[in-house]
Symmetry: C2
Subunit: 368 residues, 2 copies
């Protein structure tokens, strides 16, 4: 998607053989491109959250494995295998909870196994990293087409811009390109649907600032809101549809997503506002029968609540907003019960909870 | 209530004839007592939000009228009346939307009318200001007794602290003493009920920092939460009761309160958690048949969302959390429909929506 009018992916190769990312810690204030010259740069970028979002973390892990193979390609086969084993373990451990990272490293391991020399392994890992990134782009693009169909239908006869509310950042910055929620929005805008997006702040980490920034960079009018405000807007008829992302969706359609999603689902239900989940199939977990009791919720650091980061006088700054000694709780996610979800927008089509399992198994049953 | 172990009201007279307040702009980081030497200090304190909370604003307006009468008590009667007319108009205009301010200034006008000389007027206004403050304390104390009965009943047989969730600051800092929601909490704690309070952050202005601070100063264990988290805690059975304040409650029981209250009411309803409103009778508006369509909601400045205030390196500081040029919406309040409210805790008893009008007319009908 666009930054200052130029097209970007969130991870790419430059002309000098380096892998590049945008250091997201400095967004939305500064666009800082970081070159990952070697695999250790990739480990640090993943571990210290220079990048975020499960699909992007997976792609970064894959490119990290390629960078390691290239660095070690001068070694003999036995030394190469030992060095790669260690590098993959480091990459794998960079973010302990990211399922996509696990999966990407595993795919790179298989690519390595099929190569007959270190030089061939370097080529094979580059091809596989590119494939992982391209597959993510394709999933998001296809999801966006199905989502845009919904937005176009909802916008018909409105005679004013369609008001979409979203929570957190399920944007292109969390994927390789397009995003999940934003893929639908960008594609609908491309088709000429007039849209306005209400962007939830999403405390504690204020991912709404990323969402607002990327929407603005791509020409989509948007307004940020404190997380408290969405229900009131729905009561007043100022929200036409809610679309959120998901970190993990269970077989019955229960949706784990950023903390606060459940409250917006309740408000949407209470006001007859359709509530959709943008669900790339890798985030669907058919092995998990239900989510409310089964999905473990990460309790994150208190400091994310107690200290806020931003910019003062043009420089990065932080401040405390509570009295010293204040205790905070910080659950990172919540689970929205399937009964509150109108439909699941996937790369294979839009499904209701009952049709989700069959739909993502490749069929066209149970479309919402 | 206590600050550093010493009892305070939020407005009081010192031994030198000055009226004192706590400059709440500096809380929870610094307890700064401000002396209102003359009525213009009171105007500034009200207008620039050195103090906040409808009941406290009313009391400050009343004391401001007394300060004016004292300042002008050396004038002859005609000049005194002219000067007081102008002072009361200034006080009245200090916060355009505070109903309590209107009401307090009107009471002071009547007190002035009954006096036969400027000197007598100064005495009469002092007596009336004291009466207004004392009445507020009495209302909050009585409300607290009824609220504590509820908390005590809910805590019975729990075998662990009762978990109360509240939103915004309906604390003693918003009244002359005790608070409304906190009156129930403080009284229950005094009776030996073991309590723990979940304190909603309450973006944009983070009044949760005030609530957490005053609860801590008065020995009530509490934990702050982002506004997104309460629904998840209710799903997990970690909230036993929600109590919120109100700015204005309609005859049918619809409750206008700080933005975000409605989302917590929905979550309480969805999880079978009792949801109470602490309602001092002056906040009840029997002339308003319903609230959802009739109560105007103030749209406040964008900057409250875009800029956050707190403390860095021991000094007051502010920072921006969104990219320059970001647009924000900032509705200040929302309306919770009466159907989501378990009961209304007033100084005259606890009522359900159906019994509210009769109950506050002085009867004991329709108790919840």
């Amino acid at each position: 998607m666009l930054i200052d009018g130029h097209p970007y992916r969130s991870i790419w190769e430059d002309d000098h053989g380096a892998v590049c990312i945008i250091d997201q810690r400095r967004l939305p204030f500064t666009v800082s491109v970081e070159r990952l010259a070697g695999y250790r740069d990739a480990v640090i970028a993943i571990r210290d959250m220079h990048l975020r979002g499960a699909p992007l973390i997976g792609a970064a892990g894959a490119y990290g494995a390629y960078l390691a193979a290239r660095e070690y390609s001068g070694l003999d086969q036995a030394d190469f295998e030992a060095a790669m084993g260690s590098a993959l373990a480091e990459l794998d451990a960079a973010r302990p909870t990211a399922v996509n990272l696990r999966w990407a490293v595993e795919r790179m391991r298989k690519a390595l196994a099929g190569a007959s020399s270190p030089k061939e392994a370097a080529q094979a890992t580059l091809a596989e990293a590119r494939a992982i990134a391209d597959e993510d782009v394709a999933i998001c693009a296809a999801l966006g087409m199905h989502g845009a169909d919904i937005l176009k239908r909802l916008a018909a006869d409105k005679g004013r811009p369609l008001n979409v509310l979203t929570h957190c950042n399920a944007g292109w910055l969390a994927t390789v390109d397009h995003g999940t929620v934003t893929a639908a929005i960008y594609e609908a805008a491309r088709r000429g649907v007039r849209l306005h997006v209400w962007v939830d702040e999403t405390r504690p980490r204020v991912q709404g600032a990323l969402t607002s920034w990327e929407l603005g960079q791509n020409g989509v009018p948007n307004t940020v809101l404190c997380d408290n405000a969405g229900g009131h807007l729905m009561q007043r008829g100022q929200v036409d549809v809610v679309i959120v992302g998901t970190d993990r969706t269970a077989a019955n359609g229960d949706v784990a997503n950023k903390i606060g999603t459940y409250l917006k689902a309740l408000a949407a239900h209470d006001n007859g506002v359709p509530f959709y989940v943008a669900l790339p199939s890798p985030s669907f977990d058919p092995a998990l029968p239900e989510g409310l009791r089964s999905i473990p919720i990460e309790e994150r650091a208190q400091d994310e609540v107690l200290t806020i980061h931003g910019q003062a006088d043009g420089k990065a700054a932080s401040l405390g907003i509570y009295a010293p000694g204040t205790v905070a709780a910080n659950p990172g996610f919540d689970v929205t019960p399937a009964r509150l979800v109108t439909g699941y927008i996937t790369e294979l089509g839009v499904f209701d909870a009952a049709g989700l399992r069959a739909g993502l198994a490749g069929g066209a049953h149970g479309r919402a």
